[in-house]
Each structure stands twice: as C-alpha cells, then as structure tokens.
C-alpha cells in the first residue's frame, strides 16, 4: 500500500493543477474565438465561454499517463481510451448539433476498448448477497454503462457549477468505496477524476466563467463509467450517481422517448420578477430534478445548487455504505 502513496499524490497534484492552470487560458481562447453561449439564468446577455472539455481531458490524460509510468496496468489504458473517445464524441456534439440517438450509440461504441483489452470481470458484485457470473450479459452492461453515465452527467449540467460539483462528490465517494473494498490500484486511478472535477468547479461555480459543454460532461461521465466497470464497482458507482439517474429517469418517464434537451419545446423552469427560478405548470415540459426541487417554492440558482449537492452527498454516503455492505455476506 505504501508504494501507492507517491503515485496517488503525484497524479492528484498533476490532475488538479493541469485543469487549474489551463482553464483560464482556455477561457481567453474561447472568448477570443467567440465560442460563447448565453447564460439563460442570468439577467441580461451574460455570455460564458464553452466548452471546457479540452482542459478537463488534458488534466485526465496527463495524470493518467504519469500513473501508467508508475503502475503499468492495462486498466489505465482502458480508462484513458474510453475517456478520450467520450471527449471526442462530446466535442463533435459541441461543434455540430446532432440527433438524440447519436450520443448513446457513439458512447456505446466508445466502451468497446474495455472489452477488447479484457479489463473487466464478468462477475457482477452485489452488497450482502455476493456475486453472480454473467459472461454474456456483462458485455451488455459494459456497452450500456458509458452512455448512461455520460448522458446522466450531461443532463444534470443545467445550472452553474452543478455538473462539476456533483462529479467531485460522486467521484471522491467512488474513490473511498474502492479503498473500502480493497481495490487500491483503481482507487489511485480514480483520484484524478475527483481532482479534475474539483479544479474545474473553481471556474464553473456560480457565477460561471466557463461551461463544460458536452465535451466536458461526457469526458467526466465516460471516465466515471469506465472506472465503474474496470474497478468492478458498477453497483456502487450507480448508487453514488443516483440524483443524476433520478433526473434522467424523471425526464425520460415524462417525455416517454430519448430526446435531446434542445429539442424539448416546453420549459420546465422559468424566472420570477426577482430572477429566482420557479417551476412552470407547462404540461408539455419534462419533469426534471430541478423542477421537482422548485415545485413548492421559487429558489435562487445558488439555493437549488445547494439542494442538489445535499442529494449528492446523501447518495455518496449510500455508496460508501454499499461498499461496506460488499464486505459482508449473508
């Protein structure tokens, strides 16, 4: 275990400072090239740089390459390839408006390096009850996992700082869980995700200076899904992600089909005169996590963000409890 301390510290520092130092530079470049979008939750025409994905992927790749020099395990290659492909898919979607089905299918294909490199275990582990061997079915889980984690993180990226803040909480919960179940190599491999998210949150938090865009959200979500599969913590990862899964579940169950957010006509949330967020009564609008939080009373963007982070901490705690239950067998 002691031999992992130096790699853990080095990769965490590299991940954090790569994003922390490159993001201001990226903001300047994006503003200069006029790659900005309107922040719809602000008064007036407040334009924000987008996408922040390039800074995020740099932080992840630099730290994981350094980690590969220390650990030399194929799992790192697997995670790097899946994360890079997720970034490319997101970047394409940032530049061109693509159909609702493009991202799920492309992300499913992005998951295949895990299969080709054989960096998975077809035993699916559950808390209290043990494992079940599902060799064929597990391939389907791999292919579904990356689109699910990628799109759920993307769908929760609706307010300043929420996606990066939520990802910070979820990924550190996952790292703690990996430590609890004794998968120390993957615990170290997962650390850059938390530190990259934390560094990006510095610029993404209210009031945002940059948005992650699809490239940022899919990079974070893709890496999270890859760690879940390669680290053999699929159920724990799903539990830590529950608020984002609830958001996607509410959205899909109200829309009854896979549809891009920009294609939705009804508005789930509107602004009050004092510019607070308020749930609409529009029956054609999707039900979302933010709309449910606002169902009883209007709130400021900061208040909604705090509520989402409380839910993230709760589900992160449940994920850690799940990891503890993994060590107990009935």
């Amino acid at each position: 275990m002691t031999e992992l301390i130096i790699p853990a510290i080095v990769c965490s520092i590299v991940a954090f400072f790569t994003v922390y130092l490159t993001t201001p530079l990226l903001i300047k470049i994006l503003i200069k090239k006029n790659y900005t979008v309107k922040d719809v939750n602000k008064k007036g025409d407040v334009m924000i740089a987008r996408p922040g994905g390039p800074a995020i992927i740099l932080g992840i790749l630099f730290s994981e390459i350094i980690l590969y020099r220390f650990l030399q395990i194929p799992e790192i290659l697997s995670i790097m390839i899946v994360t890079s492909l997720s970034f490319v898919i997101g970047y394409v979607d940032d530049r061109k408006v693509l159909g609702g089905w493009f991202k799920p299918i492309a992300l499913a294909l992005a998951a295949t390096p895990i299969i080709f490199l054989g960096t998975y275990d077809s035993n699916l582990a559950f808390p209290l009850f043990g494992e079940v061997n599902i060799p064929i079915l597990y391939l389907a889980i791999i292919v579904f996992m990356i689109p699910i984690t990628g799109n759920t993180i993307n769908s929760i990226d609706v307010l300043n700082g929420v996606a990066s803040g939520f990802m910070t909480i979820a990924s550190f919960s996952l790292s703690i869980s990996l430590f609890i179940i004794g998968n120390l190599d993957l615990m170290v491999v997962s650390l850059p995700l938390g530190f990259v998210s934390l560094a990006f949150y510095k610029f993404h938090k209210l009031p945002s200076k940059i948005f992650p865009g699809d490239s940022g959200a899919l990079t974070l979500g893709g890496m999270y899904g890859a760690i879940a599969i390669v680290g053999h913590v699929e159920i724990i990862a799903a539990v830590a992600l529950l608020p984002a899964i609830v958001n996607s579940f509410l959205f899909l169950s109200s829309m009854k089909k896979i549809v891009e957010h920009r294609q939705v006509k009804g508005k789930p949330v509107e602004h009050t005169d004092d510019h607070k967020l308020k749930a609409t009564s529009d029956k054609t609008a999707p039900v979302t996590l933010v709309r449910l939080i606002l169902a009883r009373t209007p709130m400021s963007e900061k208040q909604v963000e705090t509520q989402i982070f409380k839910l993230a901490i709760f589900s992160g705690t449940l994920a850690i409890v799940t990891a503890i239950l993994m060590r107990i067998s009935l």
Partner: protein
C-alpha cells in the same frame, strides 16, 4: 420537497439491494445448468431474459414509487 427526494433516493437504493439479492439467489444457480450439459447460450439466454424482466419490473415499481412520493409535486 427535499425530504421527499431523499426518500426517493433511499427507496431506489433499497430496490437495488433487493434486486441484487434476487439476481444472486435466482440467476446464480443457472450457472449450474451448464454443468448438466445445458448449452451455454441457452443458460445465458435464460439469464438475460430474467435480468431484462427484472429491470422492467424495477422500472415499473420505481414509477409507482415516484408517483406516490411526488403525487402533489407532479401535478404540473
């Protein structure tokens, strides 16, 4: 409202634990079929069918739980 959301998350977590128990106790023994000369693809097919049915049931229960917990709030 936030309390209801915590409740919904907790309900989902309990459903995951129970679902895991059902999968391990019922799907697990299907591996034994291969040892008594049932072809692997038949065994896998049975497992896949069972798992998909379980997911459908899980989503159905979740929809019911969602409507029950958020019955006031979902009146948009």
């Amino acid at each position: 409202m936030i309390i209801a959301l915590f409740g919904f998350l907790f309900a989902m977590w309990i459903l995951i634990i129970i679902g895991g128990g059902i999968i391990v106790t019922i799907l697990g023994p299907f591996s034994l079929l291969e040892e008594i000369f049932v072809p692997w693809f038949v065994s896998s097919g049975i497992k896949a069918g069972f798992a998909i049915s379980l997911v459908v049931i899980w989503i159905f229960i979740l929809l019911k739980v969602k409507n029950w917990i958020f019955k006031k709030e979902l009146n948009f």
